[in-house]
Each structure stands twice: as C-alpha cells, then as structure tokens.
C-alpha cells in the first residue's frame, strides 16, 4: 500500500516535471495537472494511511480512525487546482488566439533582451 502510493506520487511528479519543461503550453498545462494530482495524493498520505477507517473518533469503542484534516486540506487543494487549471487554459487559449503561437517562452522580441 505504502509502496504503491509512494510510487504513484513519484511517477506523477516525475512525468509532471518532464511535461512542464516542454515549450508548448498544452503539455505544460498537462504537466501542471499531473503535479497537482501528485500533491493531492501526497497530502492524503500526510495523515498516515488507514483503509476502511472512518474520519471520526468513536468514544465508545477503541476502533481505528483516519485523520480527517488531510481530507479537508485535499478538498481545498483540489478545488483551488481545478479552478486554476481552468484559468490557465482560458489564458493560454487567449494568448494563442492573439499571437498565433503557443510557445510558453516570451521569444526574442526586439528591445526585450535585458
């Protein structure tokens, strides 16, 4: 379980970093979303892994429970990264439509070499 999760985070992060080093916007955005998946899974793991355990304390019995806080954190992170991905897709589209080029770098514009 731990091995699987750690591998998943590692693979997602690695492929995300590879993709954001590309020079077109679309792979970069894909890479960013892979990175956010990786961080979401990672946040889950930060509260320790517990399978089939409810995120509530039971004061009548000594049963296993899972930490509820990382779940709240992940929820916040998912909402934010989802919204951000939408924003950057729109922005990238606008940039592409106005300049007819989807390169991520600014490119050599005259007078811009400082």
């Amino acid at each position: 379980m731990e091995l699987l999760l750690a591998t998943a985070v590692g693979v997602l992060t690695a492929s995300g970093i590879y993709l954001i080093l590309r020079k077109r916007t679309f792979p970069v955005i894909l890479g960013l979303s892979q990175l956010t998946y990786a961080v979401n899974v990672f946040l889950f793991a930060s509260g320790r892994l517990a399978v089939n355990a409810p995120p509530v304390l039971n004061k009548y019995a000594d049963v296993a429970y899972t930490d509820p806080l990382p779940q709240a954190l992940v929820l916040t992170a998912i909402v934010i990264s989802f919204g951000m991905t939408a924003v950057i897709v729109m922005l990238a589209l606008a940039a592409y439509l106005s300049s007819r080029s989807d390169r991520i770098d600014m490119g050599p514009a005259p007078g811009d070499d400082a």
């Binding site: 954001i20 916007t25 970069v28 955005i29 960013l32 990175l35 956010t36 990786a38 961080v39 990672f42 946040l43 793991a45 930060s46 509260g47 320790r48 930490d67 806080l69 990382p70 954190l73 916040t76 992170a77 934010i80 990264s81 919204g83 951000m84 924003v87 950057i88 922005l91 990238a92 606008a94 940039a95 106005s98 300049s99 991520i104 770098d105 600014m106 490119g107 514009a109 005259p110 007078g111 811009d112 070499d113 400082a114």
Partner: protein
C-alpha cells in the same frame, strides 16, 4: 466588539468586491467611488490596528470561535499590523492613479479584482495558520492573474501564461511543503507548530528539514530571490504598470512569510534546522541584489528597468532578513516599508512615461509635462537607488550597520555599495536618455517597432484626470519623505517589532493561551 476589527481588513474587501461585480457592474463612477472609499477605509483600519498593538499586545481572533490549534486564528502583532497598514498606504495611491490615468477603463472588473487582491494580501499578513496562509496566497494570486492581464494584448497575455504557470508551480510546492510538515508535526497552526517543532528529537530531523527547505523555496519564489526570480521581470514589465505598482506588496508577502516562519517556527537557534536558512539565504540575497542592479543598467524598456529595480530592492531586504539578528530584522522592517512605497512610486512614474512616449528607453521628441515627470523620476530614482536624502539611504545604512557584527560584513558591504553605484548609473542613463536627449534633435531615434500592445483603445489625452493620477504619485513620495523625516520614531517601532519577533513565546502564549482575551 472591538476584537472584530482584526478581521475587518479581510472582510471589507471580501464584501466590497462581490458588491462591485454584482450590483454596480455597469456604473464605472460608482465602482470608482466605492473602491476608493473601501481602500481608504482599509488604510484607516490598518492605522487603527497599528495604534492598538503599538504597545506590544498581541491580539488574536478565532474564526467561528473555534479554539486555537483546531480552528483558524488570525493574529495581530506589530509586524502584521504594520503590513496591513502598509498595504492600505500603497493601495490607495495606486488606486487613485489607476482611476486618474484611466487604466481601470481598459478592461472589465478592475476594481473588483483590486479588492480581491487586497483581501488576499491582508489575509496573508494576518493569518496564524500555515494552510490558511496557502489559501490567502491563492486568493491574492487569482486576483493578480486577472489584474496582470488587465487590458489584454499579445505580449501581456503571453507573459500572463508564464506568470500563472510559475505561480501554480509555486502553489504545488507549497502544498508539498505543508504536507511534509503536517506529516511530521500533525498541526499547521503556526504557534502550535513552533511548540511541536521545538520538541522534535534532534536525531530524527530529515523530514522536517525537507519541509522547512521546501517552504523556504516557496517563499523565495514569491519574494523573487535570485535563482527563482525569472518570473518577475517579464510579468511586471508586461503587466499594466499601475498593477505592477500594487504587486510591490506581493513580493513583500514572501519576505514577510520568511520573516514570520523562520523566526517563529524554525527559529535560528533551533538545532533541528540549524544552518538551513541563514547559510543559503544570504548568498542568494546578495546575488539577487547584484543581478537586479545589473538589470537596471541593461534594461531597454522602462518597465523592465523598474522590475529589475524591484528585484534589487527585494535583495537588500532579504540580506537584512537573512542575517536573523534582532538588529537586522529591525532594519528589515524599516526597509520593507521603504521598499514597498518606493517600488510602487517608481512603477507609477514609469507608467506616466510609458503612456506619453512609449516604453523604450530611446531619445524621442519631448512629451507633455516632461519637466514635472522628470523631477518625479529623479525623486523616485533617488529613493530606489538608496541615495540621500530619501529613506532608501536610511534603510541601506541600517542594513549595513546591522551586518557589521556578522562574519562576512566585508562581502555584504561591498555588494550593497557596488550595486548601489550600478543602480545609480543605470537610473541616470535611462533618465538622461528619456528626459534630456529628447531636446536634442540630432539624437532622435525611431522606435524599433510600434508598441502595439501598450496602447489598446483610442485613449483621449490623459489631461482630464491627470491631477488625480499625479496625486497618487505625490502621496507615495510624501509617505517616503515622512518615513525619512520620522526615521527616529519609525526605527523605534521597527526595533520593538523585531524584539517581538525574537520572543516567539509571546506569540505562542497569545495564540494558545486562554485564547481571545
């Protein structure tokens, strides 16, 4: 009742912004009135809060009345109150300028985004919870994405994509850092973190050290420290320059977070994370200062010139922070005020130049009001380069004085002095080309290519409201002069702030004690 004022700097813009979007979307005049009134109210609230905590009390505000380590808590101490007041003091002149110069008319929702930005900034300064800090970072970033691309244009949109990508990466890194820290300590409340980190066994430090370094990287991205500064010149130079002036407070959010987290949670005496921050931050800060100054010398467009000046200014600030002594932190507090106001002022002045004659630093025919703008530029350049008589000089002197006790003061002094000289030469070169060669008809050059993006819609001459625009710049310069004249009281306050920062027990006691008093 009085305690609720702590949350007011966050709630006020948070209510105002949706109101502007939903109710008065089609009434630009009403938007302007409400936006200016709200920002002025923010400044007043900030000053009131500053007076309230100037005797050294630390106030807390528990959101939803949840007790401290479980709920989110806002903390008002000298530093956060100062930063909130500073936000208001920067935002009001910038907003006056944006209204006066007509920038807010060139795209939609300028005022709503402006208020959301203020909400994020003040929230980031006030919060006492690390995850809440992340959320407020996101609020201010989301608003800044909108403001950054305000008015549109090819280059601006491309720079906007870059800016968003870079900051999304920063946010992901922030989450990784928080996850690591939570996995080790089981809390994200800053005061609680400080206690738990101090209790961690010293031989099992790998994970918390990783978390601390990741967190430092995040804040360094926000503050534009050298190896992570690449986003800043393109973003600031291609953003609308009044927006770049507001962004002057955003790099300070990163500097503030470093100052807060690395005195409170990972304090410099802590054996567990010793040698992590100071050893790395000081060389990076020196390089930042050097690179910024060289950029000032080499810039071809006035927007980039000011962007590099902002980087140099951040470098000086981070030198003071990275020394992590009480005296140096006092200097940092003084310099943070100066640097924010001065950076805001020079970006506004740069926008005046750019509006009238385009952004390239080449000789062109004289522009309207060239004398007045030239003298404003002169004052702004003096402030940014740190020459007497303005507060930049006092600030640099304080930073250098604080560095005197350290081991490598020779290096710090020579970098600060040399880069000041380079910055002066850079500003003088740009200023003489912009304002003097325009009178010399033999030297006039044609622009290399027309600035098709900088002038979106047919804009009437900036005359109608230019008094309002100038008043924004004058307000910022007046604040700088006040900071110089009142350097003594300001410095006493800065020293008290630093003393408070270096006794984290007070902060922890105020948050985790019996809660709200």
């Amino acid at each position: 009742m009085i305690d609720h004022w702590i949350v007011a700097p966050v709630v006020l813009p948070a209510i105002l912004a949706p109101f502007i979007i939903m109710v008065i979307r089609f009434h630009l005049d009403l938007q302007r009135i409400f936006s200016i009134a709200g920002t002025a109210a923010l400044l007043v609230i900030g000053l009131v809060l500053l007076v309230q905590v100037s005797d050294g009390t630390i106030k807390t505000y528990e959101l939803g009345n949840w007790p401290a380590p479980f709920g989110i808590v806002l903390v008002l101490d000298r530093l956060s109150a100062l930063m909130v007041a500073l936000t208001g003091a920067l935002a009001l002149p910038v907003l006056l300028y944006a209204v006066g110069s007509g920038w807010d008319r060139r795209g939609r929702h300028f005022h709503a985004l402006f208020q959301f930005q203020l909400m994020g900034v003040t929230g980031a300064f006030l919060t006492g919870d690390a995850f809440n800090l992340f959320v407020f970072f996101e609020v201010l970033l989301i608003a800044s994405y909108g403001l950054m691309t305000h008015g549109g244009g090819k280059l601006r949109l491309k720079a906007g994509v870059q800016y968003v990508v870079y900051n999304l990466l920063g946010s992901t890194l922030f989450l990784f850092a928080l996850g690591t820290i939570y996995a080790v300590t089981g809390t994200l409340n800053m005061a609680d973190l400080a206690q738990r980190v101090a209790e961690l066994p010293a031989d099992d430090s790998a994970l918390i050290r990783v978390g601390a370094v990741l967190l430092l990287l995040v804040f360094a991205i926000k503050a534009a420290v050298l190896p992570l500064h690449f986003w800043l010149p393109d973003s600031y130079a291609n953003a609308p320059l009044p927006v770049a002036a507001l962004f002057a407070i955003m790099t300070k959010v990163g500097a503030y977070a470093i100052l807060r987290m690395y005195t409170l949670v990972f304090d410099p005496d802590l054996e567990l994370t010793a040698g992590l921050v100071g050893d790395w931050l000081l060389p990076a800060a020196l390089l930042t200062l050097a690179a910024g100054s060289v950029g000032v010398l080499g810039a071809h467009r006035i927007g980039r010139l000011m962007a590099f000046a902002a980087i140099a200014s951040t470098g000086t600030l981070l030198i003071a922070i990275s020394l992590f002594t009480q005296q140096a932190s006092a200097a940092a507090v003084y310099y943070i005020v100066h640097s924010t106001l001065a950076t805001g002022a020079v970006f506004l002045i740069a926008d005046m130049v750019m509006e009238r004659r385009g952004g390239q630093i080449i000789a062109q025919p004289p522009m309207p009001q060239t004398g007045l703008i030239a003298s404003l530029y002169f004052a702004g350049a003096i402030a940014m380069a740190g020459m007497p008589p303005l507060s930049g000089f006092v600030g640099k002197l304080l930073v250098m004085d604080a560095a005197r006790d350290g081991g490598d003061y020779a290096l710090v002094w020579s970098v600060i002095l040399a880069s000041s000289l380079i910055a002066i030469v850079g500003f003088a070169r740009a200023g003489s080309v912009l304002f003097w060669q325009s009178h010399d008809r033999d030297h006039l050059e044609e622009p290399e290519e027309p600035d098709e993006d900088d002038e979106p819609v047919a804009e009437p001459a900036p005359e109608p409201n230019s008094a309002l625009a100038f008043s924004g710049v004058f307000l910022l310069l007046a604040a700088l002069i006040a900071l110089t004249v009142l350097a003594g009281p300001a410095m006493r306050f800065a020293e008290a702030t630093a003393a408070q920062l270096f006794t984290p027990a007070e902060y922890i006691g105020a948050v985790l004690g019996e809660g709200s008093e």
